[in-house]
């Protein structure tokens, strides 16, 4: 390891530099962390795979329209030509008593029904890509929402302390005590046929914002608490006490001294929370209270595939694998980010 890369301590004012030596500017903590992250092969491989998944899902509309030539949101009952053979998408059994209808299985041909059809005759591959888009969108939007809210609450509670801290801490306790699925199911029943209006914000029953808000809010205490703890310890650190002693205004201390230090913790949370939120979104969608049909998410596709588990296991298996791989990449990458930014952290996020 090159000494220059870690020699932030050598840049001490007043210390004489050897004659003729070219002065290299010391790398800042962000650059150092970034370099450390880049050197983490597992994290980089996970990031690459995650980016590939995101790019793949972004091609959903193109894939459906130009490659598979299918509308993955409309029930289809006709036939499809696979390797010159005309096959019925929903095949009625002709053997024995002729009971049951089985959707077409995987053709392993990207031009149609690569992963087979679901019970509505829709292309599972195309739905998988669209579903991935929705799952990723909900996971990222809820993560951003969660981090903003948690950061705000954690910093305010930790910095101002006293009554503000007491009130906010109790609110977080209440949210923490509320089982996420109970909250989600209650909201879903209330919104079953109507929309919710909070001032200028209107959320319709089938809106993707509903799972985003539910997931975003429910996980706030998981992040707000450690942030609050960190702010409490920062508030008593020497450089903050010095700033206070120098008469620096509170908002400036908050902005210049506290927030930059908290930011690293928040960044560490991003991939880990995304992974957790993705699993939660899938669970909610599986319970019919997340993404609403005919829209897809990996959770809804698993639910569609549940009734076909015996005859067409691929419908449930494919999105299950997709969730597992994506969550794995996010977790491995998240670990890398944590090691790079906050190597001493014992931070772990647990699912509920």
């Amino acid at each position: 390891m090159a000494a220059s890369e870690t020699s932030t301590g050598s840049n001490i004012p007043g210390q004489a530099e050897p004659a003729g030596a070219k002065r290299r500017p010391a790398a800042g903590p962000w650059v150092t962390a970034f370099r450390k992250l880049v050197r983490d092969k597992a994290a980089m491989a996970a990031l690459l795979l995650f980016i590939l998944i995101v790019i793949g899902c972004s091609f959903a509309p193109y894939y459906a329209a130009n490659i598979a030539h299918t509308d993955p949101f409309t029930s289809y009952d006709g036939t499809v030509i696979v390797e010159g053979q005309e096959l019925s998408v929903l095949e009625e059994s002709t053997e024995g008593l002729g009971l049951g209808t089985t959707p077409i299985g995987p053709t392993w041909n990207l031009h149609g029904y690569f992963l087979g059809a679901d019970d509505q005759g829709r292309d599972v591959m195309a739905r998988m890509l669209y579903g991935g888009l929705n799952s990723l969108w909900i996971a990222s939007a809820s993560t951003v929402l969660c981090l903003i809210l948690a950061g705000l609450l954690g910093v305010i509670a930790g910095f101002f302390g006293g009554a503000v801290d007491a009130v906010l801490a109790r609110i977080l306790d209440v949210i923490w005590a509320f089982p996420i699925f109970l909250l989600a199911i209650s909201l879903s029943i209330v919104l079953i046929n109507s929309s919710i209006e909070i001032g200028p914000i209107v959320i319709r029953a089938g809106s993707l914002w509903l799972p985003i808000f539910i997931i975003g809010i429910v996980y706030v205490p998981y992040i707000a608490r450690p942030i609050r703890g960190q702010v409490l310890s920062l508030k008593n650190s020497e450089f903050v006490l010095a700033a206070v002693g120098l008469g620096v205004p509170a908002h400036r201390i908050l902005w210049k001294d506290i927030l930059p230090n908290v930011a690293t913790t928040l960044i560490v949370f991003v991939p880990l929370m995304m992974a957790l939120n993705m699993v939660t979104e899938s669970a909610l969608s599986f319970l019919s209270i997340g993404v609403q049909p005919p829209d897809a998410s990996w959770g809804t596709i698993i639910q569609d595939g549940q009734t076909l588990l015996y005859s067409r296991p691929m419908v449930a298996l494919a999105p299950g694998i997709a969730i597992a791989v994506t969550v794995l990449t996010l977790n491995v990458f998240g670990d890398g980010v944590r090691d790079a930014l906050d190597p001493r952290s014992k931070l772990r996020i647990g699912g509920d």
Partner: protein, 556 residues
């Protein structure tokens, strides 16, 4: 098998064969008597109280447990729709232009607790229908004199002047406010069974009540098992109404998934699954176990009621557009294929009194046959209706088939230009949810299975003005359809049926067409019933009223 036991040990091999061939049916039946029949179900059917429970699951089992004055014949096919005397000696003596029915009670029949069945029990049982607020108290029995008072004040119900017992003559007289052509059917369903007079005037929940049938409930735990054993006081009095059964014990285990039920029956661990097999096991049981599968048409329908009182389906053309656009063949596929369902457009199911094939919502209509959807006509009607772009929420159950049907309907609605959403709701609450007008349900997916074989049970019950109650969970006219002219015709047909059933059936034919034309509901298909039985189960018989006759099958 012990067919040799009655032949004697001296009989030779030849005699044995010959004797086996000519063995009498009675002797054969005796050989099959005994054993334990194991039934499985996803869940229990709720209260065990026969005057309250309104599920097929228990109505099917009540057949060997309880008796009414009348009963449906324990026969197959059309025979099963016949009403026969049960605890009554004969069909009632009718007087006062059909307003008075006099039943003479059979003697010597005992309840499973050893008590004799008396006139007092009959009178008390009719009062109990109202005291326990039976779900059909208002629908089926409101025509009994004194019922109006009982419906208002259930606790003090006496049905004074309505159900009168004469202990000396051993008769019970039922007085009606007006003649009712369907009263025999109403007296033959489980809500009108006869229970001991001292039965509690409240829902007994899990404590079984003594009955008069060939069997009795020994124990009932809704989380685990229902156990039925032979009634020690039973002596067969009518093969048609209450025949003796084959198995000694019948148990129904709860808590399996429908997949597990199929596996249990396939492996011989259970003899019959109450629930319909899941879609992805149908092909397997239809091929690998085809000798153990029985498929029987039902007098029922899957339909999509459209709320005629709120947009967009307060517009008749929008409703008709939906009816033209729905591809019933596609829906049949989702139900399990054409062996398991028949596409239909009209309200009355095939084979039902008053049914005449009629299907206006198809390509090349005429002849009553369904020839596929007419999308061009649907889109034209949609344009004329001016309802394009309207938001619509389809409410289905969260079961696999209902959700699949709902998803398909949503897809078709979007194709027509609506902005459709699908909301699957738990099967436990969906049926009451879609009935309540406060929920503003626009279109839903539901089913209707006959209570008894009369056209009015579909047309009058589902589309009559009297069945529509705003703001109530019990408003079975889900579409909220109330056409004064059609309603008057229905009332007329009900009156005519008292004296001339054939003429009434002709009237119902016209009413069926009129209601179908108004498209208050899109009828989707007539389902068939799949019974998957174990290898050892024999003598499977299907009664059109109460389905598989559990006690008439044998397991040894």
């Amino acid at each position: 098998m012990k067919k040799t036991s009655w032949l004697g040990i001296s009989a030779g091999a030849l005699c044995l064969t010959a004797a086996a061939l000519i063995a009498t049916p009675a002797a054969q039946a005796q050989d099959h008597r005994g054993g334990t029949m194991r039934l499985v179900a996803v869940g229990a059917g709720g209260t065990i109280d026969p005057q309250i429970n309104y599920t097929l699951q228990y109505w099917q089992l009540y057949q060997g447990l309880y008796d009414g004055l009348l009963n449906f014949k324990k026969g197959v096919g059309e025979e099963g729709f016949k009403v026969v005397p049960d605890l009554a000696e004969d069909m009632p003596q009718v007087a006062d232009d059909g307003k008075t029915l006099i039943f003479k009670l059979r003697k010597g029949i005992k309840f499973s607790n050893g008590q004799d069945v008396t006139v007092k029990d009959v009178v008390a049982s009719f009062q109990r229908i109202f005291k326990v607020s039976s779900p059909t108290a208002g629908g089926f029995y409101a025509g009994i004199v004194g019922a109006d008072k009982c419906l208002k004040e259930a606790a003090t119900c006496t049905l004074e002047g309505g159900v009168v017992g004469d202990e000396a003559a051993n008769t019970v007289t039922i007085h009606l406010t007006q003649p009712d052509a369907e009263i025999y059917y109403k007296l033959a369903v489980p809500h009108a069974v006869i229970l001991p007079a001292d039965s509690p005037a409240k829902d007994v929940g899990t404590d079984p009540l003594p009955g008069t049938g060939a069997y009795m409930v020994e124990s009932y735990d809704p989380n685990k098992q229902l156990k039925i054993v032979r009634n020690p006081h039973f002596k067969e009095w009518s093969k048609d109404a209450q025949p003796d059964g084959y198995p000694d014990v019948v148990v129904m285990d709860f808590g399996l998934t429908d997949e597990a039920e199929v596996t249990a029956v396939a492996n011989g661990q259970a003899d019959w699954a109450f629930d319909q097999p899941p879609a992805d096991r149908l092909a397997e049981i239809g091929t690998k176990y085809k000798d153990q599968v029985h498929v029987t048409p039902l007098t029922a329908m899957w339909y999509a009621p459209m709320n005629v009182n709120i947009p967009p389906f307060n517009n008749e053309k929008a409703r008709q557009a939906v009816s033209y656009a729905l591809d019933r063949n596609a829906l049949v596929k989702r139900f399990g294929g054409k062996v398991l369902a028949q596409p239909v457009c009209q309200i009355l199911p095939p084979g039902f009194p008053g049914h005449e094939p009629y299907c206006p919502y198809t390509k090349n209509p005429g002849g009553g046959k369904y020839n596929g959807p007419d999308m061009a006509m649907a889109k034209k009607l949609m344009e004329e209706s001016g309802q394009k772009g309207q938001p619509v929420t389809v409410i289905s159950e969260d079961s696999a088939v209902s959700k699949s049907v709902g998803t398909y309907i949503q897809s078709v609605l979007n194709e027509l230009g609506f902005k459709a959403e699908l909301k699957p709701i738990s099967s436990n609450i969906q049926f009451t949810y879609i009935q309540n007008t406060n929920n503003k349900v626009q279109i839903s997916v539901t089913q209707w299975y006959q209570d008894y074989p009369a056209a009015s049970d579909f047309l009058n019950i589902l589309f009559g003005c009297d069945s529509f109650h705003e703001g109530s969970d019990s408003s079975i006219n889900i579409a909220g359809f109330c056409d004064k002219e059609i309603d008057a015709k229905m009332k007329e047909a009900l009156k005519v049926a008292v004296t001339d059933q054939k003429k009434a059936d002709d009237m119902w034919k016209e009413i069926d067409k009129a209601v179908t034309d108004k498209a208050a509901a899109a009828t989707l298909f007539t389902p068939k019933h799949v019974d998957f039985v174990s290898k050892r189960l024999g003598n499977f018989q299907f009664n059109p009223q109460f389905y598989f006759m559990v006690y008439q099958a044998w397991v040894q």
